[in-house]
Symmetry: C2
Subunit: 405 residues, 2 copies
């Protein structure tokens, strides 16, 4: 199929569904068509040749507004593309539009609905990107994660979400949230699709040249907050153990750090402090335009003294070393993505609780969508890899999906 | 002195000297005066109350253009202030203008001259900020460092330059260069001034509440590139040893990692790769507007494969651990800032060779200006601290300055 035909399929799906799903804040149909025709007429074929791409609206685009889910940025036109957008375009992707984000990629919901059940949240903060891919509007979309903004909406919408290792994808032109954790990643309908996108974002060709391994050493890491998971997640977990353990090279409990019970609180504290720094101008100058929830987070972050913050960071550094050592024994860690299916209602985008540990540690994560819960909404689990071993994580994820889905 | 009177002194100096020094790309005299009067009329006194501040032109400002030293950003008007600028303004600083940067904070020089000798370089990339403080136009100015862009111009201009620990100052709204090393810092006429500015940038009150210690444990770290330093630096080094060793708790050679000879090359390689990512849009879309030197750097960065880059990063991680352990024995490391005085000519901003190791490792650094070289231009040495120990580094720096200057 040529680029224009593929794009027209996406546009038809968007036309049929967007009024209900509301995944986009901005669509550039004419620009996308022009780009598709140029690609069809051209000789160059990049890794993303002709693939329509949605871009979370905290990524700068030189040819479309970038509003960050906030009236403070209403109609804002950046001078240049975010680096991640430029890399995708250079690889042949067609940016079809900007997708809905929560307010500054934090907790206050946008207008997007879950395409599987419109009265339920798609998750956040990369709401529109996950929903658009889940609904078949797009094969690929860009998102970011600071706490759980890629893995959670991927889980709620039933698509593959991939957060690469911290520090591997350029963040130039992406509105910052918490500098030590903000990570660019993406959504696809398959592990291979999400990895293909990440290969362009990272410049790491190994993410499109991997082979599924014979066997995988799985560390089971339900984690300190396991009791917060509901019966659907328990069932999912049982199914995964039954399907994976007999064929795995190893499938056993991973020995998480003894004080890992604090990990989510430490992640949340560091995020609050860094977000308060990053949004200092908005906080000071546009207070009335910020949601109460975001203001509360910023006030909490500003109130933290330097010694407390340093102590949190020191614990995070130690956990990074301790968890890194686990990967000598396990290729990947299996852990929940969420506490259950997408919550009902559009105000609450769900709890990032099960994503916070791996965001704090900067580890690569992939959501595996292979089940559904008692409401019939998508469900799955999360696979976490060693820092920098993104290509091995992806290969192990495919090994798992071959046995789970 | 009230804020307006102090500001008028700075403006008088700028008027007298700016045509020669050329530190600014943009001045906002009316805005600065209005802000000074508002501060004088107000009740609130922040830590930077009424202090005029220069801002390197890669920091976004909502009320002034931000051009990044490139015609690609000619006349660009950001929507919001960079977080660092907002924090300074909230603390009472008066942003008087934007200071000259090299092209995208890389190697291609801007128009600024060294205020001590107009035919010599002020260093880069934070050229205008260092020159303005050195010339008495401003008490404080913001800069950034990726390789040697704070410490080198501080050394060439004879002011205190302070690069805080990596990850402690928000970078939101600062044009990225190399994401794993870009660090916001600043210039002042004294250690205390530079630390005061950093206390606002980091939110760490310990940077304005330190006391000079009784004694300091100094590790001598001339480093693997010591042979590149000239006779002026040798003389400076001898003087420092004579002045500090008798009063130090310890003053002895620090045991740098055995393969540290590669550190500058590894830093340069990682920087090239990350800068090529960060400037992907400019590289693809505005090639003709980039300097040949920057294009060469970007091409070098793009040509690096993921495995090579990962190997460089693994070595950097190991060096971080090994050098961190040195601080059990030494409070600070003493090392050159530059290979000599400011070079003649305005095209070459000097070699960041002696700054690359500490930028790669993310350690806090301060330039101590206490000498002059055979051309009569400023000279000094660099003090490096443990990651996160910025307040202890500052206190040790004052201890050294008390004995050196």
């Amino acid at each position: 199929m040529n680029a224009e035909a593929r794009l027209r399929e996406c546009l038809a799906r968007i036309e049929a569904r967007e009024l209900e799903v509301r995944a986009f804040v901005h669509l550039d149909v004419d620009g996308a068509l022009a780009q598709a025709r140029a690609l069809d007429a051209g000789a160059v074929r990049g890794p993303l040749h002709g693939l329509p791409l949605g871009v979370k609206d905290i990524f700068d685009t030189h040819d479309m507004p970038t509003e960050c889910g906030s009236t403070i940025f209403a109609g804002h036109r950046p001078r240049v593309d975010a680096a991640a957008v430029a890399l995708c375009r250079a690889a042949g992707a067609i940016v079809i539009g900007k997708t809905v984000t929560t307010e500054f990629a934090n907790m206050t919901a946008g207008v997007t609905r879950n395409p599987h059940r419109l009265a339920h949240s798609p998750g956040g903060s990369s709401s529109g990107s996950a929903a658009a891919v889940a609904d078949g509007m797009l094969p690929l979309a860009l998102g970011t994660q600071t706490a759980g903004s890629l893995i959670r909406p991927a889980a709620y919408c039933g698509v593959v979400g991939f957060k690469p290792s911290f520090g591997r994808v350029p963040r130039a032109g992406v509105k910052p949230n918490a500098d030590s954790m903000d990570t660019v990643g993406g959504f696809g309908r398959s592990v291979a699709d999400a990895a293909l996108l990440a290969s362009v974002l990272t410049g790491d060709a190994r993410l499109r040249e991997w082979a599924v391994p014979e066997r995988v050493r799985i560390g089971l890491a339900p984690g300190p907050d396991w009791a917060q998971a509901d019966a659907d997640v328990f069932a999912c977990w049982e199914h995964a153990q039954r399907a994976l353990a007999p064929q795995a090279a190893r499938c056993e409990d991973a020995a998480l750090p003894p004080d890992f019970a604090d990990v989510a609180a430490v992640q949340a504290a560091i995020q609050a402090a860094e977000t308060a720094q990053a949004l200092a101008f908005e906080h000071r100058t546009h207070r009335a335009s910020l949601s109460d929830a975001l203001l509360a987070l910023l006030d909490k972050g500003r109130a933290m003294d330097a010694e407390t913050l340093a102590a949190h960071r020191a614990r995070a550094d130690r956990w990074r070393r301790e968890v890194d050592a686990l990967f000598d024994r396990h290729d990947v860690l299996l852990t929940p993505s969420t506490s259950g299916e997408a919550p009902a209602g559009l105000q609450f985008t769900g709890d990032p609780l099960f994503c916070r540990p791996w965001s704090l540690l900067g580890l690569p994560c992939v959501h595996l969508p292979f089940a559904s819960g008692s409401n019939g909404l998508p469900l799955g689990l999360q696979l976490v890899g060693r820092h920098g071993d993104d290509h091995r994580l992806i290969a192990a994820a495919q090994w798992c999906m071959d046995r789970l889905a």
